[in-house]
Amino acid sequence: MDREPILQVNGLSKAFGGVQAVLEVNFDLFKGEILGIIGPNGAGKTTLVNLITGFVKPDAGSVLFKGKNIKGFQPHKIANLGLVRTFQVMRPYHSLAAFKNLIVPLNSPRVRRTSGGKLGDRDSVAIDILEEIGFERDARVPYKTAGSLPLGYLKRLELARCIALRPEVILCDEVFSGLSMSEIASMIPLLEKLQMEGITIMMIEHRLRELFRLADRVAVINFGRKIAEGIPKEVMEKEEVKVAYLGTGKRK
């Protein structure tokens, strides 16, 4: 694989009051790979995504996207560079029809620029994207208001909103959580397809089995620090990781 880093995170730290949410996290995200970020609840994974995408201001460290420091940029600026995220708790525009949800990213400066003003009918483009992501084209689902969609569709909609921006990197915050096994099984090919199209993906995930099918590498975070990084099998063999997930085993 091409080992060109597209996103470099160096010494990123953030404390909320006395709680050190993220401490000196370093990692590189290489172009075209899928990197899994795992760790117990409260380890600082979502904060990490918030820090990278500008929703929370880091205390220290730097974030280089394609060699350019984007630390301190506004979230919409970062999204327009092609670094987009999903939200763990879905944030649909519940009063709008599902396909109208995509009108928002389709009006972003990035899409205007990359399409050269020749996007055509935005409604059609939106429905094309929804179909690509697994909404049945001829069913009523794309036309229903987002507030009335079931969870599985909302997760897809969250991803569709990212894809509409024509991103280079997607940071997925637990796209599998709350989905049934069959729903997850249908999401996996989707993510694989995105990777084939050349999109780099960083996934935060608790569903390890599914993640390991997808991820090229994983990084483990615990108490805000990165404790391991490497290919999935090796990482899970490490002592620190076992301790983080299963406890020290001192008490029997």
């Binding site: 929703f55 979230p75 919409h76 009063s95 109208k100 949800n101 009108i103 990213p105 059609s124 036309y143």
Partner: protein, 336 residues
């Protein structure tokens, strides 16, 4: 072949997309069903002045001002998510701009009103820009303070006649022009906003209301869109203010009165929040009602409050949402 197939599919789809939003219009009956309420409203507003005497015609003009304010309040609150209690500021800025231009430069109201609409909107927007990072109740509180703030600036600096105000401004030629100017403005503003909220820019406004963080994640600057929304709303409000100063031929500190911030909210609650037309109708009912109750002296306020409390308790959806629901139970005029 494949290309042709694809194009056909795309065509079908866009028909479907549009038809979902617009209904399939298949007969005169359906068209009548859809057009009826709109026609009724427009004709009603146009005919209304003909049925009133001089006194109530003046009341109608005042009601029109509140209707415009209620419309702009409803647009900001329900479609952009900014609860703005600064209606008095829009009125004040618009009214002062047009009144001052008229008094000092002796320009005709037909020149000063358009200038004040734009000028007042620009000023209101500039003042509100620093507050746009606030959300919910915080924005409401700050926007409520701004008219008071403006009043004290005018008093402290002794501007524009200070506490006395400026009187003997030019008024519009006659009562008919006065009425139809405001009625025309209501109709134009109402249908313009209704269209706007379904255009792309309106969809982004609504998305900001539903979830502003997700809009930022989609690469759109929420501040710049909020500025646009506030500007649109303050255009309507400033027009109302400019019109008001020429209606009374007077400008003064009472242009910043709290009534202009509060009564539109009552009208919106009564008419049905989020319907746009509801608040307009609410204002056209409430203002004359408050006028009719004048005979009761101080009891007027009590009766007025009772009506409002009644609505909030027993019909919180408001008149318009209720009527709309009932109207759609007619099954589009088809026999069942």
């Amino acid at each position: 072949m494949a290309e042709k197939e694809r194009r056909k599919k795309r065509f079908d789809r866009s028909v479907k997309v549009r038809s979902e939003g617009l209904y399939a219009i298949s007969s005169w009956r359906e068209m009548g069903f859809l057009a009826m309420p709109r026609l009724l409203l427009i004709l009603g507003l146009l005919v209304l002045p003909l049925t009133l005497d001089m006194y109530w015609q003046r009341v109608l003009c005042t009601a029109g001002i509140y209707a415009l304010l209620a419309l702009s309040f409803d647009f900001l609150a329900e479609y952009v998510g900014l609860v703005c209690l600064g209606g008095a500021m829009f009125i004040g800025f618009g009214g002062y701009t047009s009144g001052v231009l008229n008094a000092y430069f002796e320009w005709s109201p037909f020149v000063t009103i358009p200038i004040a609409t734009l000028g007042g909107a620009v000023m209101s927007t500039l003042v509100l820009i620093p507050c746009l990072r606030l959300r919910g109740i915080y924005f409401a509180i700050v926007s409520f303070m701004l008219p008071l703030f403006s009043v004290y600036i005018i008093i402290a600096l002794g501007l524009f006649g200070s506490t006395e105000g400026i009187s003997a401004l030019d008024t519009l030629p006659n009562i008919w022009v006065e009425q139809y100017v405001v009625i025309g403005a209501i109709i134009v503003a109402l249908f313009a906003i209704r269209r706007l909220v379904n255009e792309d820019i309106g969809l982004i406004f609504r998305a900001i209301k539903d979830n502003d963080q997700a809009v930022r994640a989609s690469g759109i600057s929420i501040t710049s869109y909020r500025i646009k929304a506030v500007f649109i709303a303050s255009l309507i409000g400033s027009f109302a203010g400019a019109y008001l100063s020429h209606l009374y031929g007077w400008l003064g500190l009472s242009l910043f009165a709290m009534d202009f911030s509060i009564l539109p909210i009552a009208a919106a609650v009564m008419g049905g929040m989020g319907t746009l037309v509801g608040p307009v109708i609410g204002a056209i009912i409430l203002t004359p009602m408050s006028e009719a109750l004048r005979g009761f002296g101080q009891l007027r306020v009590v009766l007025y409050c009772l009506v409002l409390i009644g609505f909030i308790l027993y019909k919180p959806e408001g008149l318009m949402n209720y009527l709309e629901r009932k109207y759609h139970q007619f099954e589009r005029w088809e026999e069942v």
